[in-house]
Symmetry: C2
Subunit: 416 residues, 2 copies
């Protein structure tokens, strides 16, 4: 197997050299050809997806899991839409930055170029294949996909359609490679072939991400947990706070930018918490409170230290009362997964303090943290949301798939 994966790596590297020279028109043509292939093979995609669904049900996967796995007609439309959307985005490759003429006449600047070969390790959702292929092709990168076993038939089918489209457009077919083997060993081989792969993006559960981080010889951009907070400050407008906190928890609880912990200033807790509880009760949210919260809301469950560290991805919320904005910031900087955290306040000082001091990829004032994604921020599609600090924090869009290099134009300058 190792040899097989190495071969794919080498092919992807060679393809990336070719792809880096291609202009935007050709790359867009490839995205259109892929969209055509998907359009005219809906039946095939559904047939292969059915195999995964049957296996999943046999394995007893949860209903939510099966739901994410299912490729309905409208999800296939969604894949086609993403291809069209990405074709419409501005190509970041070749953008010139910070061009300057130095005193000795040298012109020095930077130029965005593709990173090269991206390795992506992901679980479940088979639509990821299309999103990732669209973004990497448009930004001039090759990609090696390594999806999970539960969606393997769907992934292989979709990837073969992607490769057909690529070939029709005249791009090297190894621009998109898939590793069909779904055991841990295949991840290990992928994250260790540093001569062929430039970055690794793991998208999935904590276990997967830890395995990749511990074994990778290639730089990793982590897309992991969303343990996200909203802090209701003593100077919050109560109605706005209720609306924002309701939206952040209830609108779509199973995603990484949903709220998992609510922090409330002690001075507003008496008024705010009973109001908030009424709203949450209608939506069936289970509350787990700290000791002080339980004085105000005695009939809710206890929150333990474990709750502050938990991404529920469900209609469960931990609640804590704090003495000050500083205590809220401290709690967040300790327990947050550094994804998205917000404050509701009408105090300029506290709002600015929060924005400045919370060490997370996205810091919100007076808005639902559910807005934290690439589409909302105007990046178009995204590779995922980075929880780490190097290269990109938050949504990873097209630009983040490039690596500016220095370009220097001289007329014979030598160093004295």
């Amino acid at each position: 197997m190792e040899k097989n994966i190495l071969t794919k790596g080498r092919k992807a590297r060679n393809a990336s050299r070719e792809l880096a020279k291609m202009n935007t028109l050709i790359k867009n043509a490839a995205l259109n050809c892929i969209a055509e292939e998907i359009k005219s093979n809906r039946h095939l995609i559904k047939k292969e997806n059915e195999k995964d669904l049957i296996n999943g049900k046999k394995k007893g996967l949860s209903k939510a899991f099966i739901d994410r796995l299912t490729l309905t007609g409208s999800r296939i439309d969604g894949m086609i839409k993403i291809l069209n959307d990405v074709a419409g985005l501005k190509d970041p490759v070749g953008e010139i930055l910070n061009m300057n003429t130095l005193p000795n006449g040298l012109r020095v600047g930077q130029m965005r170029v593709p990173i090269g070969v991206i390795g992506i390790v992901f679980e479940s959702r088979p639509n990821v294949c299309v999103e990732v292929a669209a973004l990497t092709i448009k930004s001039g990168n090759s990609v090696i996909l390594r999806g999970g076993s539960d969606a393997i038939h769907s992934n292989i089918c979709i990837t073969s359609l992607i490769r057909k489209g690529i070939k029709k457009a005249g791009l090297p077919v190894s621009t998109v490679e898939i590793i069909e083997n779904t055991n841990r060993e295949s991840v290990l081989h992928l994250v260790r072939m540093k001569e062929y792969v430039d970055i690794i993006i793991p998208r999935g559960g904590l276990q997967l991400i830890r395995f990749v981080e511990e074994n990778s010889l290639i730089p990793v951009i982590r897309h992991d947990l969303g343990i996200c907070h909203t802090y209701v400050d003593e100077f919050a407008n109560i109605q706005m706070a209720v609306d924002i906190c309701y939206n952040a928890k209830v609108q779509r609880p199973g995603v990484c930018n949903a709220m998992e912990t609510l922090l409330v200033h002690k001075a507003i807790a008496d008024k705010f918490l009973p109001e908030m509880k009424k709203a949450y009760e209608k939506a069936g949210v289970e509350l787990r409170g700290c000791e002080r919260t339980k004085i105000i809301l005695p009939d809710i469950n206890d929150a333990t230290d474990e709750d502050w560290r938990t991404e529920y991805l469900d209609l469960i919320l931990s609640v804590k009362i704090v003495d000050s904005v500083d205590e809220a910031i401290q709690h967040i900087n300790r327990y947050s997964s550094a994804h998205s955290d917000g404050i509701v306040t009408d105090s300029y000082t506290n709002g600015m303090k929060f924005i400045n001091e919370v060490d997370s990829a996205a810091c919100f004032i007076n808005a639902s943290i559910r807005f934290s994604d690439g589409n909302e921020f105007g990046l178009g599609a995204e590779m995922g949301i980075s929880n780490q600090k190097l290269h990109v924090r938050g949504p990873m869009g097209l630009k983040d798939l490039t690596a500016p290099k220095y370009i220097i134009f001289g007329n014979g300058q030598i160093k004295q």
Copy 2:
């Protein structure tokens, strides 16, 4: 020992939270205080450095090594100058990027904030302590220094002066920590405490860098080899090519941006190589040629495949004749350490091809690759030169020590 290093990590993390709030005036005051400490303790620095020099001579370290280790009066002046220079640079922290108002009224942008805690593992040169401290303090980061055993007395002495200066200015003293233990195990502990350290920068030999890459759980920015090329195209001006190639090899052969391999187009080799050899002979450069080079210069040594992979850091140069600019680019993309590579040509097409297709951090046309450093490129001081593609390629300056995070200003927006 592990506990001791963990304690330093925790202290550095806490200090980084304080430091991130400090304004530019206070950070500059700290740099000035450090400069004062160094100025008034020259004698102490030299005394401690002398211990390292005596040990080094006992151990039989090379003359070049001892030279880099020696802190002369003018090198101490150099440290003071760097502190003053960095104090004069623009503070990148707080810079707002790409601020936009979305259709729903949300204002979304990015703000540069410090990365947090930087771990740096370096060998020999004790002046690195001051350079690194100056850049990390100015950019609002804490740093944990882990220098090599050969300079340990100098490193400890300089770091204690840095910490005195920091304290006088009112910054938390743990802004700069040093790990005094110099065995491999201490590196291992440093690169594994991911709760306290955000990035690791290894500066040193291949062995050290491999060790860090293989063991780190923290993102690594590699600063390693300079296997750099100059390609003399068939359309080069011969005199310009001789001047540039002489400068790139001879001006300072022991540094990472010196040329190690010369590529020459077959159509110009007959005229260019004998001229070039004459110049190199005067400087005592040893040439090692490919078979075709040896037909033109029969009395030089043979180059083997090993030579294309070697960073001589000495007056040795490998020479290869190629058939085309494409072959030159292929050779570079295969053997270069992706640091700095140049072309000499008067062909617009070949020059642009080279700039577009060579996959290195800095691509030069018609200038000596020796210009490849942060000072020359106008960044002020630098942490080193990155050979990898994530976050920063080439010289790593103040801006690269920040990580833009998203900031979002709303007035009650919720997601539909």
